[in-house]
């Protein structure tokens, strides 16, 4: 194996700047997409468990549709196909005037995709609370809204903290798909450094180390959050 080591490229101008900007884009995509995924995922997850059949059906369709199409295909549809099928004015605006089109598209695609995964966790959490408590709430004269507000949601949100933190980590990893529509996030920058300098080993190692640090950070946050939200008496399984 012939290879010329040169770790110093990682500190050289402009490559260090590329890495830093890559990390910033990765965080920008992942965090913004998480806001969409979290909000929409909770609505859809709750919707799937509602006694109202049409709403539950629509929410189930959403989850099945977004989970069974690869994220890459979804990314391309939002980026290449949606501006074409929009009404002319909107389509033209999306293609010409929308600020940061790669970033906005990546956030929307990743957010809507992850929402379907979050929804599944929320649904599982609500179903794990059990029929007994729901029946007890109804027997006490709670309305459906009150049952969710005071019984199901408070318990299930604390139950699903572990799987949700793992989804949070996954969104950072999945943000790398933004490179396919030309957003230079961390993975793309490391690939670009590898191409410019022929120091692939160093470039990919740098990206790997940064991703591992993100994962470790998420794990530490997850553990303290779990300790804080654990329900005494529940056997920590969601």
């Amino acid at each position: 194996m012939e290879y010329n080591w040169n770790w110093s490229v990682l500190w050289a101008d402009p490559y260090l700047g590329w890495l830093i900007s890559g990390v910033q884009w990765t965080f920008a995509v992942a965090l913004a997409a998480w806001v969409i995924a979290f909000a929409l995922g909770i609505l859809i997850g709750v919707g799937r468990t509602l006694p109202n059949k049409p709403i539950a059906f629509i929410c189930t369709c959403y989850v099945e549709l977004f989970r069974n199409v690869p994220l890459l295909v979804q990314m391309f549809i939002w980026y290449f196909a949606v501006p074409e099928i929009m009404p002319d004015d909107v389509g033209r605006w999306m293609k010409r005037d929308m600020p940061n089109p790669e970033y906005v598209t990546a956030v929307v695609a990743l957010g809507l995709y992850t929402a379907s995964r979050v929804a599944e966790q929320v649904r599982a959490g609500i179903q794990a609370v059990g029929k007994g408590l729901t029946s007890a709430a109804y027997a006490n004269g709670f309305s459906t809204a009150q049952t969710y507000r005071y019984v199901l949601l408070p318990i299930s949100f604390r139950l699903i903290v572990p799987p949700m933190t793992s989804e949070f980590l996954t969104i950072f990893k999945n943000s790398s798909l933004a490179l396919t529509i030309g957003l230079l996030e961390l993975t793309a920058q490391s690939q670009q450094i590898a191409e410019f300098t022929f120091q692939g080993f160093e470039a990919f190692t740098a990206a790997t180390v940064i991703y591992v640090c993100i994962a470790l950070m998420a794990t530490v946050i997850a553990q303290s959050l779990e300790k804080f939200t654990k329900i005494p008496g529940f056997v920590g399984k969601g």
């Binding site: 989970r67 069974n68 391309f76 290449f80 099928i85 790398s176 993100i214 470790l216």
Partner: protein, 218 residues
């Protein structure tokens, strides 16, 4: 949507089919490789021998914290360097997928092995079976039977993941669809078509999983 052009799909069907075959073949080989390597990692992790279990744990956690695209880039770069000559995109991608998915499979298999009751192992030991005989005849058959639905689910995820070979231009279904989309200037038709095909295959797969789960609990 009125000017949806079906002809572009029809005319390129043989080319698209070649891509789909590559996707399915890659998925199939990566599932086999991933399960074999994943079983090895799971056994190492549960071996009780510290260096082995530490190695397996480090590997699994490392792979699970980086994106698949980065792993694909890594192996595209490393494999030719390690072997000393280029071996073609398909094999580099296959190695990347096996190494990546093995980490995920090993976590599934580890949970499956742990779901086999300890009494079964003791019974095996009392009957005079060796460690390997216990794994081979007692633990793994029961573990795998419990795991089948999750293993299939992971297989569906793996099939979706194969679309990422797009980043190294390997001609799978996704890459081929986007080649047609660009050369024919028919982006909407081709990406919607790709989405429909992926959806049909993955949805059928998850229906199959649901049936397996029902059969298991019944």
């Amino acid at each position: 949507m009125g000017d949806f052009d079906y002809a572009v799909i029809w005319n390129n069907l043989p080319f698209l089919w070649e891509g789909l075959k590559l996707s399915l073949w890659l998925t199939f080989l990566a599932i086999i490789g991933g399960i074999v390597l994943g079983t090895g990692l799971a056994l190492m992790r549960l071996s009780g021998f510290l260096p082995l279990s530490l190695f397996a744990a480090t590997y699994v956690n490392l792979i699970r914290s980086v994106p698949l695209i980065l792993v694909i880039f890594w192996f595209y770069f490393l494999v030719p360097l390690a072997i000393g000559r280029p071996i073609g995109g398909f094999y580099s991608a296959l190695i990347a997928f096996v190494m990546f998915e093995a980490a995920y499979y090993s976590e599934i298999i580890r949970a499956g092995i742990q779901s086999v009751r300890q009494g079964q192992v003791h019974a095996g030991q009392a009957t005079g079976l060796s460690y390997w005989q216990i794994q081979r005849y007692v633990v793994l058959p029961q573990a795998f039977r419990n795991m089948i639905p999750i293993l299939v689910t992971q297989g569906i995820i793996l099939f979706q993941d194969t679309s990422l070979v797009f980043v190294v231009s390997l001609r799978d279904f996704m890459t081929v669809s986007s080649i047609v989309a660009r050369t024919e200037g028919r982006l909407v038709e081709m990406y919607v078509f790709a989405a429909i095909i992926y959806f049909i295959i993955c949805f059928a797969g998850s229906m199959f999983v649901r049936r397996l789960q029902k059969a298991k609990t019944a």
